[in-house]
Amino acid sequence: MVKQEILLGNGAIALGLLEAGCQVVTSYPGTPSSEILPEVVRLMKSANLDTYVEWSTNEKVALDNAFAASITGKRAACCMKQVGLNVAADSLMSAAYLGTVGGLVIISCDDPGPHSSQTEQDTRFMARLAKVPVLDPSDPQEAREMVGLAMDISEEFKIPVILRPAIRVSHARQNISFGPIKKNDQKASFEKNPQRWAATPRFRLVLHGELNKKLKEIGKKFEDLSKYNFHNLESGKKYLLGIIAGGIPYSVVRDFLSEEHRTDIPVLKIATPYPFPESLAAEFMSACERVLVIEETDTFIEYLLRDREKVMGRLSGHVPSEGELVPHVIHKLINHVLEELNLEPFQADDDHEVVQLVKDLQLPVRRPTLCPGCPERAAFFAIRKTRPKAIFTSDIGCYTLGLNLGAVDTVLDMGAAITMASGFYHSFAQDAVEQPIVATIGDSTFFHSGTTGLLNAVYNGARFILVILDNLTTAMTGMQPTPELGIRADGSEGKAIPLERIVAGCGVDFIEVVDPYNIKKTISLLKKAIKYVKDPNGGMAVIIARHPCVIAYPDKAIPEKKKVTITDDCTECNICLERFECPALYHDTELGRVNINREICVDCGVCIQVCPKGAIVEI
């Protein structure tokens, strides 16, 4: 029985994993990869499969777990965002040498733009660095198929394989047909072989040699992988311009050329950037006078082309070196190249006037902001009010948006709220300067990378206040559970691990829990923490600001609705707009005071505590 569903690209990948008989899937959520595991759960439940799934505490943990599954002979996968692969890099580099038994596929989703990441890094380079093959799908359907291909290659050549979907694959939606999914009954077995699985440097050299041999063989296979690597040259014909593209840019270019009925520009599609199908590329280049390379996000293919004087791309300035290659950008850059080569251009866009109009309208810049009712806003308000002169180190999650409230000064990487705070502390302490520092980190980020930094801070005698913003979920990426909840990826019960115990285990003696909705109490606890941090007998102070996320738990977050209104006592001091910045509060020019947008207000009533004039009151 075949059915058709409109799947998210990440859903198509999940489907591909199950169709490929993947028995173990691990992941740490991160945009644009977060929906893969939930889709695996949904599909495996509807197909009655017993796939083992887990939200791991971080990407390295996820990859180690999946790797172990693979060397028991099972098919395993591990899903993450591109910067998550940095965290898992230690595992990846070594796993490439050791090799696999059952198929092992690592899905690392890239974010050109970047839309929701700290860098625009290109996973294909990580694959090259680790010496593992990488596949680059150009739409959800292809991503689904390539998961199976990756699994087969991994198992045939005993090597981990990376699938690199870009955000427009992961977050595209496409109608996909699929039939029943068969269960894979492969049983776990582990054959001891310490020379391989616990290889010392002497054996690593041997393994490196084996890895190089595998890559050569895979390279040959990729030359003939005509379903995914192909061109449309007519034999014997010469062309003035050819385009080499992979991933999403291939889809965009393909659509343009067919809309414009252009047969004078051949295209080479590269779906396996590494190992690179060199002969195929050489054949294509020899038929073209010039070649334009359009790829996301970096210059991976461009670097690998030998006949350099033919190549147009980022290095020659024909393709932008940063930002997403959205269709109109690709359209414009191809047109420039066509004009430069005196070829017939595409139908030009007449969008100058309308682009100018949008500029002239001076539309408000919509920066992302914490949701109405978000408990993190209340915590930031209290922190900023109590310690306005502090350095505010923060971290990755919704609460990065605390920067709108003037309560976030630094964001480096997962866990750096704590490690940078200790770094700041020691730098100032060296000069005998008592610099106040308040670090903020989310619950999931703390589980991911917080403990090692906290241990380090306590051990090395750093003094600062750490506020763990505990909203009982991984909010930014779509409400995945954290270890604190005791709910596992498939919805089953797990062991709940309270943050307090971990913090105490890190050697912290000052641990307080507060509901940040109570701003007064939060402020008084912060004051107590300040004293403790300064006290010669004190140390690190940790406050857990715990209140359920208003999106994940709307009822629990606001058990008693408080409908508020604004009285004429409002003096337009704008403290509520600038220091609290609830999107439901806005300046009403007609009324000459602040007003409430009922369409988005969630009646949390927290703003009552914020107005210095008492002009925000409950109705």
Binding site: I6, H115, R168, A172, D349, D351, E599
Partner: protein, 186 residues
């Protein structure tokens, strides 16, 4: 058959993903090939959000500027922001309470590009129906009343009925109907 390109815009939290899902499913049920692009992650937190929906034989999920046939915007400024996507003669449906829609500065160019624009107080309709955060359904109802798109009132209504969570089904249909009636009264 020519590809139909639709842009849906608004602010994070206004329910653009649900609106996109409804149209995509309704189109699929009518036999279209569906390709779409969504916004997830950081941008969903109150920022500008855009969904792309393409019906036809296409490989790429993003609409190119100047080629969209329809724009449904849950917020007026976000509607203007996405004007560059619209093709000549495109149709635009906007949720706004302003009595001065479209803004004078925009009107001339929109008329020149033969863009047909319509506005509805979808937010007010949703609020009156008791679900102030469901203006997305009122706008869908309004859109369906003009029957200018490839998917009509009945298709969309059936889809809302099928894919709404049980708890919200009745209220979703009620607000959709209210939007539809507002469109029909014109």
């Amino acid at each position: 058959m020519e590809t139909i390109n639709i842009i849906l815009s608004g602010l994070g939290g206004q329910g653009i993903l649900f609106m996109t899902r409804v149209l995509a499913q309704a189109a699929l049920d009518k036999g279209f090939n569906v390709m779409g692009a969504e916004t997830h992650g950081m941008a969903q937190r109150g920022g500008s959000v855009v969904s792309h929906l393409r019906l036809g034989e296409v490989k790429n999920s993003l609409v190119r500027t100047g080629t969209a046939h329809f724009l449904l915007s849950l917020e007026e400024n976000e509607g203007y922001r996405n004007l560059p996507f619209l093709s000549q003669g495109a149709r635009m449906y906007v949720n706004t309470n302003s009595r001065h829609f479209p803004r004078e500065e925009a009107k001339e160019l929109m008329d020149k590009r033969k863009i047909i624009y319509r506005s509805i107080h979808a937010g007010t309709i949703a609020q009156e129906s008791g679900a102030p955060r469901s203006s997305n359904l009122a706008l869908l109802g309004y859109f369906s009343a003009f029957d200018e798109g490839p998917i009509g009132y009945k298709d969309i209504k059936t889809t809302i009925d099928t894919i709404s969570p049980k708890k919200f089904k009745d209220i979703n249909l009620k607000i959709f109907e209210a939007g539809y009636r507002r469109g029909k009264n014109f």
